[in-house]
């Protein structure tokens, strides 16, 4: 069970960039928080609470045809590298892996569906954190998937529910629907035209919130923003999701407009930025992950503007995931301390870009000579 070969592409379906607007919206995620009656919530739970929750989840998997074939991974029994890979694929959280202690608490587990891109964190801050992860902007579909999964679990398990407050959660910011819908957006146009501040302020004004690439409180790198709903109580799930969808569509329009302005008002500077980013990625011998993300941002913009033809969004998504440390270590078959890790990252990126062939400015591509 501790072999990553047995989890071929869990959490990677979105990389194919098959969803709508996937050059600007990388992925859509919908998460639902649920708790079981009669047990303390995650932070206050004891070992016996967590084991009870886990065994209840196991019993549902056995009964449910929807979940047949799903695998349940107890994180303490999984190698540290596999734990990190699950984290890098956004299938588990830092907290579920034990946070600063670095050792997953007993009972912490992740349920991975084989039928659809859904998963459940078990014994995180809430007993159950259901999530779906899709390519591009597909909020309704992502909500439909977790909704379906929730029925499957809710029909069998006694959920903590209050007639007034709705579904009860450890943190009062999640109570009610327990729903957090978020889209990962790439907004270099708005950043370069310095309009991003206004847009982000606007998001706050309409009840949305944003953060950087990796989870709560993380900094914005590479112009990647996660936009999500701020409140969870008082609106139906469909309305929360619909509202986010509507606003994200506006932000996409703003971004497209900003890119248009960039090309019109500063074509030379924009092109130079993009080609420099490509050049560094294509030939660098050492890359930190943060540097990589910043360069990928430029290249992604170039690909989207057709200034770097032949460079597929799929390739760029793949670089983003597979150049994370644990993924590189998995490929190398051993731990990669610094500076070796940065060298492996650069070499991986060179190889993958070489495979795409030469990207020429006049739109022609020819196979790379050795």
């Amino acid at each position: 069970m501790d072999d990553l070969a047995t989890i071929p592409d869990y959490g990677l379906g979105w990389l194919d960039a098959s969803g709508p607007s996937s050059d600007i919206v990388l992925s859509t995620r919908v998460r639902l928080a649920r708790n079981l009656q009669g047990h303390a919530f995650g932070p206050r739970s004891r070992v016996n609470d967590r084991e009870a929750v886990l065994s209840l989840v196991r019993s549902v998997i056995e009964k449910s045809s929807h979940l047949s074939g799903a695998s349940l991974w107890e994180l303490a029994k999984v190698s540290p590298r596999t734990q990190k890979i699950l984290l890098e694929r956004r299938l588990v959280s830092e907290d579920l892996l034990g946070g600063k202690k670095g050792v997953p608490p007993r009972g912490a587990a992740v349920l991975l569906s084989t039928k659809d891109p859904t998963s459940v964190m078990v014994n995180e801050e809430d007993h159950l954190r259901l999530q779906s992860l899709l390519s591009g902007l597909r909020l309704q579909d992502a909500w439909g998937l977790v909704d379906r999964l929730e029925e499957e679990l809710g029909n069998e398990l006694p959920l903590a529910y209050h007639h007034e407050f709705g579904f009860l959660t450890s943190c009062p910011t999640n109570v009610g629907t327990g729903l957090r819908a978020s889209v990962l957006m790439h907004l270099p146009g708005l950043v370069l035209t310095k309009e991003i501040g206004q847009v982000l302020k606007g998001l706050n004004q309409v009840g949305l919130t944003f953060r950087g690439l990796y989870g709560e409180g993380s900094e914005v790198v590479g112009n990647f923003f996660q936009v999500s709903n701020q409140t969870t109580l008082g609106k139906a799930e469909e309305d929360l999701v619909g509202h986010l969808d509507q606003i994200v569509r506006q932000v996409i329009q703003y971004e497209e407009h900003a890119r248009h302005v960039l090309l019109k008002e500063a074509p030379a500077v924009t092109e130079d930025k993009i080609w420099r980013a490509y050049g560094l990625l294509r030939y660098a011998r050492s890359l930190s992950f943060e540097e990589l993300i910043n360069l990928l941002s430029g290249v992604r913009l170039g690909s989207s503007l057709k200034l770097l033809p032949n460079l597929r969004v799929y390739t760029l998504n793949k670089i983003m995931i597979y150049s994370q440390t644990a993924h590189l270590e998995q490929a190398a078959g051993r731990d990669l301390p610094l500076p070796e890790c940065d060298a492996h990252r650069a070499s991986f990126v060179r190889r993958i870009l070489a495979r795409e062939g030469v990207v020429t400015s006049d739109g022609e591509s020819s196979p790379e000579s050795p």
Binding site: N35, Q37, G38, H39, A40, F41, P43, R44, E125, Q140, G144, D147, R148, E150, G154, P158, L159, A160, Y161, H162, F165, G166, F167, L168, S170, C171, P172, T173, V175, G176, T177, L179, E195, Q198, V199, K201, G202, L203, N204, Q205, V206, G207, T209, F210, R211, Q230, T231, T232, L233, G234, K235, A236, E237, E238, D239, Q246, I247, R249, Q250, Y254
Partner: protein, 175 residues
């Protein structure tokens, strides 16, 4: 959204000066920008008073200080959850409830807090149906399912619609 710092603008809804919320909607492929005062924006569900992104809940609770009474009886009353032992002070420190029972223990206090965080306290949306549901619980669940069915049909998700119809049928009182 993202209006350009226009001051002293008149509210589109009530005509009073002092529109502070500017947002653009796309209606039939045309953008329409609206300007609203704070009161009208709140009424339309566009909250303006929301904790900022990086404000942690614990800070939020601390900032609230004593101005939110814990219960009508006494502003500094210390309660403890009989199930998990969480006290009011614990909650203020960590910003997390300890168990489902905490929501009854701290109900009065939470009502004020939830109003500040979410702008209200009444859950709208999915209705959980416990084992052995009462007639009114069933009715609420049915209402929610029918709403979901309409959306499934609107979005042409016929597989989901069929599932929902089955669920509605099993809940509907035999007539």
């Amino acid at each position: 959204m993202a209006g350009k710092g226009k001051q002293d603008m008149v509210c589109d809804n009530c005509g009073e000066a002092g529109a502070v919320v500017h947002f653009t909607q796309v209606v039939n492929n045309e953008t329409k920008t609206s300007h609203l005062c704070e009161r009208c924006a709140t009424e339309k569900g566009l909250q303006t008073k929301i904790p900022s992104t990086n404000l942690l809940l614990a800070d939020f609770l601390a900032k609230m200080g004593g101005d939110e009474p814990l219960s009508p009886g006494g502003p500094q009353e210390e309660l403890t959850c009989p199930f998990c032992g969480l006290s009011t002070a614990d909650f203020k420190e960590v910003g997390r409830l300890g168990c489902p029972q905490c929501y009854s223990t701290f109900e009065e206090y939470l009502r004020g807090l939830l109003r500040r965080i979410h702008g209200g306290t009444q859950h709208v949306g999915k209705v959980y149906l416990p084992p052995d549901p009462s007639a009114s619980e069933k009715e609420k669940r049915l209402e929610a399912l029918r709403r979901t069915l309409v959306r499934a049909i609107d979005s042409e998700d016929f597989e989901r619609a069929a599932e929902l119809r089955d669920q509605i049928r099993t809940l509907e009182p035999a007539s």
